[in-house]
Amino acid sequence: MTSQAIQSIVIVGGGTAGWLTAGVLASRFKSLAENNGAVGIDVTLVESPDVQTIGVGEGTWPSMRTTLQSMGINETDFMRECNVSLKQGSRFDNWVTGESDYYYHPFSLPRGYGEFNLAPYWQLARDKISFADAVSIQSKLCDRGLAPKTIATPEFAFNANYGYHLDAAKFAAFLQQHCVEKLGVKHVLDHVTAVTAKDNGDIEAVQTRDSGAIGGDLFVDCTGFAALLIGDHYAVPFNTVQSVLFNDSALAVQVPYKDEQDPIASHTLSTAQSAGWVWSIGLPTRRGVGHVYSSAYIDDENAERELRNYLTPIVGRPEAEQLAVRKINMNPGYREHFWHRNCVAVGLSAGFVEPLEASALVLVEYSAKMIAQQLPANRAVMDLVAKRFNDKFAYHWNQIIDFLKLHYVLNQREDNGYWAANRNPDSVPDSLKEMLELWQFQSPWLQEAPRFDELFSSASFQFVLYGMGFVTQENPAGLRAEDETLAIANRLFSDNAKKTEQLLGALPTNRELVSKVAEHGFQKI
């Protein structure tokens, strides 16, 4: 075993995963070098001019604000150059009965969440008000297409928590420019032709068509579904989860607005179909729309028909029939491990699930951050860091799969075997079954978070459970019905209503804010 110091990192692949990883790593190393006099670590990104990026991931989590800020990116530049609008969460239409039902999963936590669990008290009034309306300010803001902040709110700060909707291709190009010009990332535009290994099995270099061998101490596989290093070279097995999450196909389409001043939704809209669901993401200049479905329950032709039917009321019949549709095949699942020897997979090469909760980019951010923060000092300790990384991300993937499945198990739709099959206990992971059993008698709250960096907080589980009509029969011994706690709950509900009213009167529409950003930009303070 060698204890060679880690001095250079080679990222293979240049989509959003590659450039986000490059940015997170390079900005961290740069600030360590500037502030602590640490030895700089070279970051090189090799990107093939021949390979098209998949460019579908168009929704982010609020975590992206911190990620961009830590890379030294100016939010105004980012919004202007990447066709960005602001996102406050997701709305799920027709997921329960299919008869015009809907619920929100907003980004903000329920009011007072850190100290008080409102869910049991909402249950007492569940027939009068939706869970999201009772505990969050954001469902009403989304209903009216309002932005989560005003032009006078400083960059990255908010009145209501938010992430982004963006153009993935423009985002990759924007990050590339920032990484190369500001963070000193070396960019090699060349096609990787082979991988050469050392005697111990580590990757020594990637061979390129015109630039020769590119060597490094750590290789990051951001080659997407191709999985050049983790898959082709190392053949790390891929665990499919299709028995849990049935969808294996997607049809994507770009939908223009009728008028350039049309409202921009400040949430991702997910509308259930007969054997899948349609996403709609509002960018300033167009909508990104797509149908995710299971080919076992609907064929491509009928899936395309459902997508065009969805578009008809939005753009009119002639346009809905003409828009060009792109097919994407997908296999939900993830690698048996992600960090193997001196190679770590980030992005689609590590795994993929349907974009129901926009988990793709946030996993890239989490992965890149962990690599940056725990970068092994030398090769000798790399295997230990790799083990920790693998444990953590296996945990994250399991949680994502449980959480996505939760959106399906509580459905009451009878229109297609797809929905019945989703309710079938055989398709539900044991971990989720256990939680559902427990949640019949106590609502998920802070006790659900064994790790400090959970991807989905228990609040997310609350929004989906109670949005879909799940009933928790609180244990009377656990529900504190004394006057004092009831008074706290009532105060929090009333605070939430007041705050909502105040923001409804103060916030511009998402469209207005985007126009103001184009004209004036945000202030830094």
Partner: protein, 241 residues
């Protein structure tokens, strides 16, 4: 409400402008926009802060006259008790506007508008604008000169704000003021210049700021902090009445 029209002798020969200072003429203002070139005079009387324009989010400097809406602590029976009144107050009821003008190198020329709904407009009392047999009065000439000054000061002020932002000298502040009657007044949404950051600027930065005429107004803003005490004293005095 305002009703601005282009000023011209034909329509406005009999118009007079009241120059007295009183709440009934719209002087009951908590603050007014100001410009770096007048900061020296402003800081002799009022605290200078910065605020964001709600429409664009951009910063502008203001002189503070009171703590609550419509409160101008300098206003009394006898008028506006201060040695200097900000230019943006003195300009009332006039406004500078622009008309397309092909003969001018900028393609536009400044024109003077007047707010016909202003309570300052009168036919009986005040300063005349035009002379009986044609020509403008000294009063109008001075008002026009002030408007031109505002126009130039506005451009200079924008560059000044940009410099403060570029050197990251601004910080938000919350002012907690306790009055003699025990009541608390809190001023939110204001920004000021961080003195420590100014003192840490290098020679090159200081030189550049000085060249553009920004250094003196920066120190005037810092000096104006003492005027918060003046406001508190005026407020306490008003409580005793």
């Amino acid at each position: 409400m305002t009703n601005f029209v282009l000023l011209n002798q034909a329509d406005h020969s009999d118009i007079k402008v009241i120059t007295d200072r009183a709440a009934k003429y719209g002087d009951n203002l908590k603050s007014a926009m100001t410009f770096p070139f007048e900061f020296r005079n402003i800081q002799g009387c009022y605290p200078i802060f910065f605020q964001k324009d709600s429409d664009s989010g951009s910063f502008f400097p203001l002189a503070l006259f009171g703590f609550t809406k419509d409160e101008n602590l300098f206003l009394s029976e006898s008028g506006w008790d201060a040695t200097y009144i900000p230019l943006m107050i003195r300009r009332q009821p006039f406004l500078i506007g622009f008309q397309e003008d092909a003969t001018s190198p900028e393609g536009k020329k400044p024109v003077v508008s007047i707010d016909m709904d202003s309570p300052r407009i009168s036919k009986e009392e005040g300063e005349a604008l035009f002379m009986e047999h044609g020509g403008t009065t000294e009063f109008l000439q001075e008002a026009t000169a002030n408007l031109e000054l505002i126009h130039q000061a506005h451009e200079h002020g924008k560059k000044f704000m940009q410099a403060l932002l570029d050197y990251e000298l601004l910080e938000s502040i919350t002012l907690d003021v306790q009055l003699d009657d025990g009541s608390q007044n809190q001023l939110l949404g204001y920004y000021t210049i961080n003195e420590d950051k100014v003192q840490k600027l290098g020679a090159e930065a200081l030189g550049k700021l000085n060249e553009q005429g920004f250094l003196q107004p920066i120190f005037m803003v810092i000096a104006s902090h003492n005027r918060i005490r003046t406001l508190v004293d005026l407020k306490n005095a008003s409580l005793k009445q």
